[in-house]
Symmetry: C2
Subunit: 416 residues, 2 copies
């Protein structure tokens, strides 16, 4: 399936190097690219993924888009699902959350991955491998031979191990075997290039060592920056809540991206879009809000198409761009388990809240009659749209900006 | 084959504890002994041996004699030949001397062991196992599960690893797996007790950890002191040359033991004999030379029988106990590849040197005729015995004290 004609090595290098954090070793990559052109042979480009977290967010896309670059240049992309360690779980039995995955769970996760990866990669030209298929055949003798090529001091130089060792927190010896397993994946594949976040540098270099020990040409280790989350400080991660999932609704993707700081915005332009540098420079010269809208629309369109991006932008305008919305608005959570009288006497479908009830429970009006009066006067807006009907239903499980008169604002999160 | 009636636990403990360096945990050993009595079940007592060094010396006998104690008490002794790692050799390929052993070499070494162990153990009741028989069946998954029970910090507390790590000398990661392999041997056997030198303490404790992880009752770790070599300083070892091999001729065993310092002698009494403490105390009250003869004769008899011990003692008397032998005698090496005219014109068997030739080549006489004259005068002694015949043959490959007249002495080492 791979293309057998490749662009000149220099041209490829320019594409590959954009946004890269580190490249070990550039000269070797150039040689591999030149040889690939001469022999009309695609390079094998490897990415390893953890089988336990198949919910991809924009942080993952930095490296996945780089993989797509290789694919667009005609190379062979191989995604490794690291199911071998997932099947083992936490052998110390200390972690409740790291139970061994079953065969069925791993297959399910792989399907989820496949669907999500398809938003970035051309899956028709993407090879997916499970590393248990070779790692489960290794014996203790193999492990001894593999581990002979790495020293304990090297392992303890890895940042996370160093920090734990120095602070006296225990490192189980089996944790030293995981980089070895990952490195052996490169041997099993004969990988030419491995991609990863900068936190993977050490593991990628172990792959080089093991390939050398097996008489293979070592892979090029290509690392990409870790994407900061919406807070602009911590690495984007689901557990920190500072993420944008690629499966989130278009409105949320757009809205979350509009919330980032101006400085983080330029970082996202670099790592999450392919908008040319010249165009980004032009945006820098203009108003930051215009640039941010361009960023949000571009990324939303990547995962939801241009139509959904336009709608999301319009929604955002209505809700957030009104001049009279103050900076600091109180947020109110209304639980969805049905307060006293919730929905009583009104034609409300499933999880819809009648707007009069929302106004009263959020404390925006003092009584049902005040709610009716304000709506009849056209003085109530939800997400920038005027409410015309007392019984209009608001969907549960979402967040709304509600305005009464000129001054009363609340953000209301509805349960359900 | 094991006896099913055992002495009372206290009585056994007294025998077992003699000469022991450390016992982890004594209370557990008592419980095991008591249960063994109750259930008429022998304890499994394990000793691991390196498959590459089958030349046993007195240093090894300290732990082997303790094993014999267990055997005499009726317990099941299991000797593990650590062939698994021997078959792998040095996986880094750096050590020329640690080439992988072949199946045939390992079998040869095992035969040599069997013959030598027979001088101390009752081989009819000794089980010999090769640890490759279970270790070669382990997979990488097993290794990960095993290593999960040990931390990196624990490993680096082991003295030899700590010293190397602190001084920046590399430790290959595979070296961390060897204690795990040895510990797993205890799991595979369900060992009740493991014996070793004090340098093995760490490995024996790993065995306890792994047995616990596998739901077994942990073995008791019983360590014995490392025996100082003849120099009284370094650990006895073949490579340092300060050893007494159990296969050396009786004369050499006796002679080497007579060379040790008085203080070392008492240590040897404790670790290498079973002479009761009261008797040793009596010897301490007498002349040290008498005590040393008792030590030398006792140990020589252990490996060569009482007859050979008596002969060795008589030989020693002749050679070393003459008052007129000076302290510092020149040593001369006569190569065995046949100097010019070696053996010519004389009826000398195989590797025997005619005594006249030894006298002349060692520079003890100036000519053949002086050699003849001195022998006829009865003025030549070899190892304290007067030489009567010009053509008397001295066996090659040995060391002799040669005396001519009252003043001329040389130690002569004959090749061959």
């Amino acid at each position: 399936v791979s293309r057998l004609h490749f662009p000149p090595a220099d041209e490829q290098l320019a594409v590959i190097k954009r946004g890269v954090a580190d490249l070990v070793v550039e000269g070797e990559l150039r040689e591999k690219l030149e040889r690939s052109c001469r022999d009309a042979r695609a390079l094998k480009v490897k990415l390893g993924l953890d089988p336990t977290a198949p919910d991809l967010h924009l942080g993952h896309t930095v490296v996945l888009r780089k993989l797509r670059d290789f694919q667009d240049l005609g190379h062979q992309v191989i995604v490794i699902i690291g199911d071998f360690t997932g099947r083992i779980g936490d052998p110390t039995g200390r972690s409740e959350t790291r139970k061994p995955l079953t065969e069925a769970e791993i297959q399910d996760n792989a399907e989820t991955y496949r669907a999500q990866l398809g938003k970035i990669l051309d899956m028709g030209r993407t090879r997916i491998e499970f590393n248990s298929s070779w790692l489960k055949t290794l014996t203790m003798e193999h492990v001894i031979r593999l581990t002979a090529h790495v020293t304990v001091a090297q392992m303890l130089q890895r940042e996370d191990f160093a920090a734990r060792y120095d602070s006296g927190r225990p490192i189980s010896l089996h944790e030293f075997l995981y980089p070895i397993a990952q490195g052996y994946d490169s041997v099993a594949l004969g990988a030419d290039v491995e991609l990863g976040g900068t936190d993977q540098t050490f593991n990628l270099l172990v792959g080089r060592d093991l390939q050398r020990a097996f008489g293979q040409e070592p892979q090029v280790a290509l690392t990409l920056p870790l994407l900061e989350g919406l807070d602009g400080v911590q690495k984007m991660s689901k557990s920190l809540g500072n993420y944008v999932g690629i499966n989130e609704p278009a409105i949320d993707v757009y809205g979350k991206l509009m919330s980032v700081s101006d400085s983080l915005m330029w970082r996202y332009f670099e790592l999450l879009t392919r908008i040319p540098g010249s165009e980004v420079a032009a945006l820098r010269a203009g108003h930051p809000m215009e640039a941010k809208k361009r960023l949000a629309a571009t990324i939303t369109a990547q995962y939801h198409g241009p139509g959904a991006a336009t709608e999301a932008a319009a929604h955002f305008e209505r809700v957030h761009q009104q001049r009279d919305v103050p900076e600091d608005i109180e947020e109110v959570l209304l639980p969805g388990d049905g307060g006293v009288g919730a929905g009583k006497g009104f034609e409300s479908g499933g999880f819809r809240w009648p707007v009069w009830r929302v106004l009263r429970e959020a404390g925006l009006v003092a009584s049902n009659s005040e709610a009716r009066r304000m709506i009849e006067q056209g003085a109530v807006e939800v997400d920038g749209l005027r409410v015309m009907d007392l019984n209009e239903g608001l969907e549960g499980g979402r967040r709304y900006l509600v305005k009464v008169g000129k001054r009363r604002f609340k953000r209301v999160v509805l349960g359900g």
